[in-house]
């Protein structure tokens, strides 16, 4: 019912305007797409395409949803169960994200302009197209099914206007009368624990704002890993912090070398975005983001450790190396 109301509202908004101006409630389109995906019953195949350097990669993934259960089939099945997120490993469902944890995405209107227009027919469905613009550039384009509000395709553009990555339905069957899917009877938990940002100690830090308008939306800890989640309303970024030093040969193969402040780092591409890995001081940082790469670089420059090791730290390391050399000689 909520989906229908939202879709009706969208239809009213765009009626009579082929390319509308900035819509006051375009924010609700994304919210509506999320609630639609959680409430609708459908099945289909997704095309996931991304550029990795000069290579374009592509994968397909089967997905089905029914009344609050969203299941991705593949080598490692994932499930969205209402607000919880689970992964199936070793023949058991593990809770990666408990339903009780919340993130509060900031308003994207401060940074982005959103324009909505009537879109092309996709897989037999009428669509609305939402362009998310930053300055004179379209950063993201969303194709939303008009009646149910389901997000059919999402494209992210690079700084030259080319498609950097996309996720979209290749096949889709919407079936409102589909029977409910089985819910996991028992689960184990690998879930994170929420941490108050101000209570981090030692080498960990969680600035409230990062880079160009990325606001902290949550701080979590699991074992020795602290995850600080940021969002600018459209994109998300996780800064993972681990106390220690980057072990020799610890960086995965295939990374492109980058400089992060005074430190050497590596950049990788994953189907949903970018990864940057580096060590600064006593902390190893891994930033995972679905944001454009220039946003990622801008954000990591404001991470505390990105200025590189301090003079005192380098001096201590030098002393340690000196003593180590004598120890080795014995």
């Amino acid at each position: 019912m909520k989906a229908l109301v939202g879709a009706a509202a969208l239809a009213v908004i765009v009626s009579g305007a082929s390319v509308g101006p900035v819509l006051a409630d375009s924010e609700s389109v994304l919210d509506h797409a999320r609630s639609s995906a959680e409430a609708s019953s459908f099945s289909g195949v997704l095309d996931i395409v991304w550029r990795d350097g000069n290579v374009t990669r592509q994968q397909q993934l089967r997905v089905k949803a029914a009344r609050g259960v969203l299941l991705f089939e593949g080598p490692t099945p994932l499930m969205a169960l209402d607000d919880a997120r689970l992964v199936r490993e070793n023949a058991a469902w593990d809770v990666l994200w408990p339903a009780a944890l919340r993130l509060r995405r900031p308003d994207s209107g401060e940074k982005y302009e959103q324009r909505m227009a009537v879109g092309p027919k996709m897989l037999g469905h009428d669509t609305l197209v939402i362009d998310i613009r930053r300055g004179d550039r379209v950063r993201e384009r969303l194709y939303v099914e008009q009646f149910f509000g389901l997000l059919l395709r999402r494209e992210q553009f690079d700084d030259r206007g080319g498609v950097q990555r996309s996720v979209g339905f290749r096949e889709l069957q919407i079936d409102a009368g589909a029977p409910p899917m089985a819910r996991p009877v028992s689960t184990t938990t690998k879930a994170l624990q929420s941490v108050t940002g101000g209570k981090l100690h030692g080498p960990y830090s969680a600035p409230v704002v990062l880079g160009d308008g990325y606001r902290r939306t949550g701080v979590f800890r699991k074992g020795g890993v602290v995850q600080v989640v940021y969002s600018d309303g459209i994109y998300d970024m996780s800064v993972f912090e681990q106390r220690g030093r980057l072990g020799s040969k610890a960086a995965p193969r295939g990374g492109r070398p980058v400089r992060v402040g005074g430190s050497k780092g590596w950049q990788y591409t994953w189907p949903g975005g970018q990864v940057v890995l580096w060590q600064a001081g006593r902390t190893v940082y891994t930033v995972v983001a679905d944001a454009p790469y220039d946003d990622v670089l801008g954000a990591i420059r404001t991470v505390r450790g990105s200025s590189g090791p301090s003079v005192a730290y380098r001096f201590r390391q030098a002393c340690r190396s000196l003593v180590g050399a004598f120890r080795d000689d014995r």
């Binding site: 994304l30 999320r34 969203l70 593949g74 994932l78 890993v225 989640v229 980057l246 994953w270 990864v275």
Partner: protein, 155 residues
């Protein structure tokens, strides 16, 4: 062992002058300085008398000795002895400073916590963790799908 052209250079007994070679060698200088025991002096002189090589060397050593002795004496420049005496003190200070710096460094290292443990970030797991978090407040289909694609990040 015998020296060509002369009797072997012998010794006067245990602890006395002994030359393992065929000629008198260093014993010539000791002979000129009157540092040989009478018995050894007799042996060396007997050898030199029968050995032209040692006789020639004895003459050369004696000539050099007399020329060195004939050199005029020189006074050292002003302050030479003071500087000579002061140098060890400066060296002692430098050595003390170096030792203190080394001790301070060792102490500095000693009070530090142990060297940080190596970390090997599980990049694939971190990616999935991020995608899961992003899907909670974003579109679950497009956000979670990227986490479902198998990727390999191995050292």
């Amino acid at each position: 062992m015998s020296a060509p052209g002369g009797p072997p250079v012998g010794t006067s007994g245990p602890g006395g002058p002994n030359h393992a070679g065929d000629h008198a060698g260093d014993l010539l200088s000791a002979l000129l300085d009157a540092q040989l025991a009478p018995a050894d002096e007799l042996v060396v002189r007997t050898h030199v008398a029968g050995c032209p090589a040692c006789a020639t060397e004895l003459g050369a050593v004696e000539l050099a000795r007399s020329r060195v002795r004939a050199l005029r004496g020189l006074d050292p420049p002003f302050g030479f002895y003071q500087r000579l005496l002061a140098t060890p003190r400066r060296r002692r200070w430098a050595a003390a400073s170096l030792a203190a710096a080394a001790a301070a460094s060792v102490a500095f290292v000693g009070v530090l916590p142990a060297r940080e443990a190596p970390v090997h970030p599980a990049v694939a797991t971190l990616i999935r963790t991020h995608a899961v978090a992003a899907s909670v407040d974003g579109d679950p289909v497009s956000q979670l799908a990227t986490a479902g694609v198998p990727v390999s990040f191995r050292p």
